[in-house]
Amino acid sequence: MSMAVIWGKTVSFLLIFSIGDGLGTTEINCQKYINDFKQLFNALPIMLQEYSVETAIAVIADQGATLKVDTQHLRELSFRIGSIFQFIGELNIQPNNEAILQARTGRNVDGIDLDLYYQSLQLLRQFQAKHMKNATT
């Protein structure tokens, strides 16, 4: 099956770990996204916990959950532990079931208002749900 690149849907960091994000998205749906499409995942702004210069693997962490990010294509970005980063990329599931985000883009968003960011995401989801509902009626 040919793989289609679709848009960088903003997903909850926890969704990547198949816990769900309150949108009713299940582990199966999430897995289907990954299998059927070369889905671009737009990870939320999250703090950098570790970075290896040798492997270009960054580890971002939020509330005990961690995600590895392969940053080999992001040569111009300076990785500083404790800074907040936002990545867009393809999520690859390794044979050992470990998820690695192959980053296409990344940026430092130090100074971002995270409370406002999450509130705006909630409003967006309500707005999108209403919009979709109206579109189908």
Partner: protein, 159 residues
Amino acid sequence: MDQQPPSLLHIHVKLLGFSLHSITPWPNNPSIFYLNGKRISRVEILGVVTSRDYKPNKFLRFTLDDGTHSITCILWLNHLTSPFFASRQPATLRVISDLAKCFADDIQFGKVARVRGRVSSYRGDLQVTVSDVVIERDPDAETLHRLDCISLGRRCYFG
């Protein structure tokens, strides 16, 4: 007498990607689209540059991703060679051409860009023909644009 709502036809309508992809073409004019029954032709969008296809002196095609959808944008760079612009003043064309080249340099992978332009359809897909680009450095720019779009959507576009 009821006051007519202001027309959206000649203003840049702030839209999120998923809303932009919900618009439908107006049958009588390929440059006009329907957004929830209202006619629009210009949009303002904001997102991360996730692809970039550069043809020097021809065009820069790129995509913006705002987390709800990706949007294809085309920035023309052929103002000095295309017969389409032949009727314009040469001095004006040089200014427009130089400005377009500056925009093309600004549009780099991973940057957050605010783009204004005309909506058009190319081979059945929507695209935005770019007229103006601003690179955003404020880390809250995406959040504020999202809130603007939601507020305007509720009050003006979908209300």
